[in-house]
């Protein structure tokens, strides 16, 4: 008798190779210049609130509305506003060079309770598997965020493209 089905399949998980090909990927070089959004959206769903809400005009969906969101890495300043509006919860802001050894990842979070600032949690990959420890740096919760909080966690730099979820 098992309590959980095996978690080894890749169904529903975007590969990093695929993410790097998406128009929502800011490009490897961009990470050296400060926080930037990574849009892990790979489906032609008619949806464009990210384009609407971006205060900088850095995200383009255009016509038809099924286009994948395209990020302009020179305009995006990693302000995190788009993270909470996305119905797919597939936008993450990544600050690779947060400090010498760590990256800061901003993650949409809709579970209770919220983690405490300063606590150490598991940093999990796109399959929910813990890959490293993550220190909670910010817990951002506001009415404006449509009930989707944003959690910023510091993780060892090598995991900046892997950690997309946390577990307490």
């Amino acid at each position: 008798m098992v309590e959980k089905l095996p978690n080894d399949s890749d169904d529903g998980v975007l590969s990093l190779d695929r993410i790097r090909e998406l128009p929502g990927y800011p490009g490897k070089e961009r990470f050296a210049k400060g926080p930037v959004v990574v849009i892990e959206c790979d489906e032609d769903i008619p949806c464009n609130p990210c384009e609407d809400i971006c205060p900088c005009g850095a995200i383009t969906v255009g016509e038809p509305i099924t286009n994948l969101p395209k990020i302009d890495p020179d305009i995006c300043d990693g302000c995190i506003v788009c993270i909470s509006i996305c119905p797919g919860l597939c936008m993450f802001v990544v600050h690779r060079d947060y400090n010498e050894t760590e990256s800061l990842i901003y993650i949409p979070f809709e579970m209770y309770p919220l983690p405490e600032k300063g606590s150490v949690v598991d940093g999990c990959n796109r399959k929910g598997e813990p890959v490293c420890k993550a220190r909670v740096e910010k817990v951002i919760k506001s009415k404006k965020l449509h009930k989707t909080s944003v959690i910023a966690v510091a993780v060892p730099k090598e995991f900046f493209e892997d950690v997309r979820s946390i577990r307490m």
Binding site: L5, E43, P64, P87, G88, K127, G128
Partner: protein
């Protein structure tokens, strides 16, 4: 006074039709068999997809609250606990109120917006307490604030299954996993990605063989399917769970409409038998309209716009809107609807809808 528009079903489609027509002074009566209006909107805690016009990024229950406020503002008459069970030839709607009182309501125009009903699948033990539909689990959690169980196996990876798996986790219920008989996930990748990230497994090409337990569900047997859909020998797994949740699709809730003699057609891409209608959603029976999932399984945002379209058409017919203004509004709504029916999930629906209108079986009357 006669009801100028009687709407059967106070979900997103019915509510929007009521608001849109009442805006122009149409006298509306909104009927629902439930004890509260809003339909499935109050089970939808996720944010909607779409554009700003479709309130993308706003959660379903919030949209429901806003619509109810608006309906109240327009003084729309609401009759709850009322089951509409027939439409007589003179367009009187037969209803049963609170299970015992019979009545009939005369209506100049009728909108049938009865929505959808869940499909089921059958397996050994499927009648055991603990086997339930996704809608039941959502209702327990979001309306009655009761957890459906401790550990749940979700059957079906359409958007409903994926969303419910996520909602169960939010409510603190363990999800043993999601299984899908097809070789690929049926719902949006982003919904699937969301639950994978929180550690919920999804197994494609897998089915439920049996729900086991002495009286209630205590476990479930899950097995792999080969390419011909047969259970693979030796692939059976016993999964500990007290709920088997079925999320295996929806079909138009057609009991009432079938009794009306309205012409129907079978449209697999729309989820089953659907009424034929013209470009403004009028059926083969004059002055009877349809909107929402009864016309084919889609999202709440399409139901809302179909409802608005009927609202405008009825207001125009009653002379409350100039034909010029009505034309502008209709074009606007139809464009929004077309925009919701593109992409890999929308194309087939768009094709089937077009076929229904272009069949010309229901004539354009305006």
């Amino acid at each position: 006074m006669n009801n100028e528009l009687v709407i059967i079903g106070a979900g997103p489609g019915g509510l929007c039709a009521a608001i849109e027509s009442a805006k122009y002074g149409v006298k509306v009566l909104l009927i629902d068999e439930n004890d509260r209006p809003g339909g499935q909107l109050f089970l939808q805690t996720h944010k909607f997809f779409g554009s700003r016009h479709h309130l993308a990024g706003v959660r379903g229950f919030q949209i429901g609250k806003d619509l109810l406020d608006e309906a109240e503002k327009h003084g729309i008459e609401l009759l709850l606990n009322a089951v509409a069970w027939g439409v007589f030839p003179d367009n009187r709607v037969a209803i049963t109120i609170s299970d015992d009182k019979q009545d009939s309501i005369s209506a100049e125009n009728i909108l049938i917006a009865t929505g959808a009903i869940e499909k089921g699948i059958f397996f050994k033990g499927w009648t055991k307490p603990g086997v339930m539909g996704a809608g039941a689990a959502q209702k327990l959690m979001h309306i009655h604030r009761v957890l459906p169980g401790k550990r749940v196996l979700v059957v079906g990876s359409g958007n409903v299954g994926l969303i419910v798996a996520y909602q169960l986790s939010q409510a603190g219920v363990e999800v043993a996993g999601v299984i899908e008989a097809l070789p690929q996930i049926s719902g949006y990748q982003v919904h699937a990605g969301k639950i994978r990230r929180i550690g919920i497994p999804i197994l494609t090409s897998h089915t439920i063989v049996e729900a086991c337990g002495e009286s209630d569900v205590e476990s479930a047997i899950v097995a792999k399917l080969d390419s011909a859909g047969r259970v693979v020998d030796g692939s059976r797994m016993d999964v500990s769970c007290d709920v088997v949740l079925l999320a295996v699709g929806l079909r138009p809730f057609d009991e009432l409409i079938r009794s009306t003699g309205i012409e129907m057609t079978y449209a697999p891409g729309l989820g089953g038998f659907v009424p034929l209608h013209n470009s403004v959603l009028e059926t083969s029976r004059k002055n009877i309209y349809v909107a929402g999932d009864i016309t084919g399984i889609e999202e709440a945002n399409t139901a809302m716009d179909e409802g608005r379209l009927v609202g405008v058409v009825v207001a125009e017919k009653l002379g409350r809107l100039s034909s010029q203004e009505a034309k502008r509004l209709k074009t606007e709504i139809q464009l929004r609807l077309a925009n919701l029916r593109i992409g890999r999930y929308g194309e087939e629906r768009a094709k089937e809808k077009k076929k229904i209108v272009e069949s010309g079986i229901v004539k354009e009357r305006t």
